[in-house]
Structures are given as structure tokens and as C-alpha cells.
């Protein structure tokens, strides 16, 4: 079955060092009801971090690019979409 959300976590060095390392735990900490709806994909650099004021870490949820991503922020997005 097609999952509702496809989450791409950037693990390029910029994102990884500036907070993205914690996002690697997403699969382990997602509540069960959300887990069923989500497919998590690891990714090399999403090319979002190159601007002067880019706010790493980045995560893409379907077509939406989330900046300054964190696990609570992702969970909230999944709950409201």
C-alpha cells in the first residue's frame, strides 16, 4: 500500500552536524499510528543548505521542504496534514 507521507531526511554533512543527527532516530520514536502512514528515506544532500541564511537541518515531506527540522516539528506536521 502506498504510504501517505514520504519523508526524506537529509544526511549531508551540514544538516547532519547542525541537528540532523537526531533525526536519524525518527523511525524509533514515531508514535505507532503515524508509523503506518510514513515511509522514511535517507538521502545525501538535498541541496537546500547552500544559501547564506539557510536553516539546516532540512527534511522533505512529500513536496514540502521543512527547514530547521526537528522530531517534534515533523510529528506536528504529520498530525495536521
Amino acid at each position: 500500500m502506498e504510504k501517505k507521507f514520504k519523508i526524506t531526511i537529509c544526511s549531508g554533512t551540514t544538516c547532519y552536524v547542525l541537528g540532523g543527527a537526531h533525526l536519524m532516530m525518527l523511525e524509533d520514536v514515531l508514535p505507532d499510528d503515524l508509523k503506518e502512514k510514513v515511509e522514511i528515506i535517507g538521502s545525501t544532500c538535498l541541496q537546500a543548505c547552500h544559501g547564506e541564511n539557510a536553516r539546516a537541518p532540512f527534511v522533505r515531506i512529500n513536496d514540502y521542504l521543512m527547514e530547521n527540522a526537528s522530531i517534534p516539528k515533523i510529528v506536528e506536521y504529520l498530525r495536521t496534514h
Partner: protein, 485 residues
Amino acid sequence: MNYINNAAIIKRQLIVRLAKMMLAGNLNSRIDFIPLQQAPKDYEAMRCCVHHDRAVLHHRLMALLGFAIENEQPEDEIRTLASYVAEAEQKGDSRLDEKILTVIDEACSSCVRANYRVTNACRGCVARQCLMNCPKKAIKIENGHAVINEMLCISCGICAKACPYHSIIYQPIPCEEACPVNAISQNERGIERIDENKCIYCGKCVQACPFGAIMERSEIFDVIRSMLDKNEKTIALIAPSIIGQFNTDMGQVVTALKKLGFDHVVEVAYGADITAEKEVGEFVERIGHGSICMTSSCCPAYVQAVDKHMPEIKNLVSSTLSPMQYAGEWAGQQWPGARRIFIGPCVAKRAEARACNFVENVLTFEELGSIFIAANIDVAECEDVASDRIASSTGRSFAISGGVCSAVVNGTAKNGIKAEEKIFNGLDQKAFASLRAIEKIVKNVTFIEVMTCEGGCMHGPGVISNPVVARRFLEKILKDQANDS
């Protein structure tokens, strides 16, 4: 659980900005703009106002340049950061002394002196058990509420136990609570101060402070400067726990380090192989002389703890050098005159490096990662290559608690001696008590491993990866190695 911490992220962002300027060759003219870039006019202040935030950032940058904030004189407050850059250039490594950590007084929020606080759940009851039972008469009732006089309170906790409404809470001073040796305490202004005679440089206070007020005196300035110097050769000595720090294979980090400008990359796990071998030899010899136990010596915070707090067990600590020192010694023989830079997760290694002749500088993984960002190097896109000196799976397993112990016990077994394992996974008050009495506790021939960080080096204060994630990479590399052999 390893929570994400905004104070750590700000530090990394500052290192990125600083390293970018160094690499562009305009640090002297640009460094004083960093607090303005990091906390611009329209930004939402973390503290009372943007100016206080900028003052803290100014001091963070001083620590990143290697200076101790405690040495700042009153008139130094108007000194520019550029003047500190000039001083660092002129003094070089000599500005770094035995003081490894520094407290930013502007950032320290002077946490409550007393550990107990009356919340607004207090009903100002008639029983007043808190007031009646306080041994120091530190509680009085004001406007129908109990109030604790912080100057009298001795934090015994009787009031909190006595309150029928649970309205009195325990509130720790995070850095003091995290310190295993009571080395940090408040001065008369309520600012934390570190006692060098007690500090073992474990770095737990750095991780614990919610205001990020305690920082390491970084050596990034010296490392980047030597990388940019065409006449100076540099060697990266990478700790075993680097495995998994960038969510990539270790060989990709090797390529990234070479791209950054390191001439050679050596696995400290190779030094761990030497440590294991020599430690087995030493242990067998000691057993021959009638000893029944010996402790590891590779964790520098533990070695500091013995020197400063448990001198009575000093004779039980192995005199074998740490993996870092053997790797540094080997690298020095291979490439004489090159600057050897240990890259690891550890604060205490800075003190060990300064006291030995085999390593010139120390970087943490988070500092390295931030420098990669500044140099626009993406480790995930680097090629997987072998380092200039690879290691066995035995040496690589020193990164986690239990690795040293099993290496030595297995080696001792090859000499026909069966030894038991005892592992102190984390150095807390209980571990101190057991170690002091260890000769009475241990009955049979036993090798004792002590790791100050619970879980081992992968849980150190300077790591990037969540240890759960990093461990998966280590297990994979150890498995691959087992299949290859």
C-alpha cells in the same frame, strides 16, 4: 536519551562562521561581525535582549579562539575579537594552559543557590510542616505563601517531604549535579567556578548546562592555521569512535579529512591494538608478582580522577600508554616534524595531549564536522578509502564500553591465565566508592575497565551522532571485518 540541544547547535554555527573566515583569509577583519550575523537586529532574543545575546556570543568566540574567560580583565570588555585573533597568532599554542574548560560569566544564569523551591501550589496551610520541621529555620510565610531563604537553606529536602501538597520541588543546579567530583560551585556572585585541583575534565558540566555557559577552550584556530600553512605537515589521528559520526562509512571521513588538508590520516584504533598488547603483557607480569587486579588507563578522565581523588589506587592503574599516545608516537616516527591532531569525542584528551609529547592538538568531532561545513565538504559524497594506518577489530572496539576489557581478558587467556572482567560503565559516586575498595571487592584475578562516559567513548561530550546510530555503524564494520578474515 540524548536530546537535541540548542546551545550545542549555536556553538557549531559559530565554529562554521569562524572557520569560513579563516579559510577565506579574512578572520582579522571580519570576526567582530559574527555576533551581529548570529544575532541580527530583527532576531528574537534568547536572553533579556539582543545585546546580552551578542555579549555572550562575543565570549563564546573568545573560548573558540582558545582563551579562558576567567582571565578577562575589566577593561578587556571593550577589546575587539580581532585583538584576540592577533594575540592567538602571536602566542600560538603557548596561550593554552592546563585550564581546559572555561565558564562564560555572561552566560551563567546563576541558578538558585538552594535546591528546593516553593511553587505556587503552596496553600499557606495551618499545619506548616515545612516551617515547623526546617532544621535551619530557613522558611517563613509571606503573603500566605511559604518562602525559603536561600542563604540559610542547606538543601536537606525535609520541607519537600513534609509538604502535604507536594508544593515544594527539588531543583538541581545542572552543572553541579552532573559533576562527579564536586569540582564546580558558585562564587559570591552566584557564577559557577571550576576548581582545577578537583576537575577531571570529563565534560559532563558542558553537556549539562542549559545556558551553554561552560565551554572548552578550543584549538580550532591552531589546527586550521596549520592546515593553511603550506610548509607545515598535519596528521589526523582519528579516535575509534569516529565510526558512524557522519552517518557514513569511516573511509569516507578519511577522504574528507584529506580534502580538508590533512596530509595523513591514522586510526587511533591502531594505537589501541598496541595498548591491548602491552596491557596484556603488563597484566601477566603483575599477576606473576602476586597482584590480582589491574585497571585500564585509556580513559584520561578516569586517570585524572585517580590522580586527584583516589591516589590510594594509583598502583592498580596500568602504566601502559593510551591508544592516542601510541598512535601519535608511531605517526611521529613515520612523518617527523608533522603536527599531530587527535580527533575524538573527549574533553579530557585535551589535558592528556598537553601533558604528553606525542600529540600537538585536539579537535572534537563536533568541531571537525563544523569545519567540514565551512570548507563545503560533504562527507556523504566522499569516496570510501582506507586510512594510512588501519586497525584490527580489537582496536576499533575500544569505542564502546567493554571493548578494552574483552581485548585484555582474551589476550591474557592466550597466556594461559583466566581473568575475570569487571567493567565500570560510567564514573559516578557509586563507582568511586567501589574503586576505592576494589582490592577488597575483587576475589579472583580480574581486569577492571573504567570508562568515565557511560557507554564508552561513543557517548562522549564531543560527539555528533546519537550513540544508538553510531553503534549500528560500529557493529557493521566489526562484522564486515570478521567476515573478511
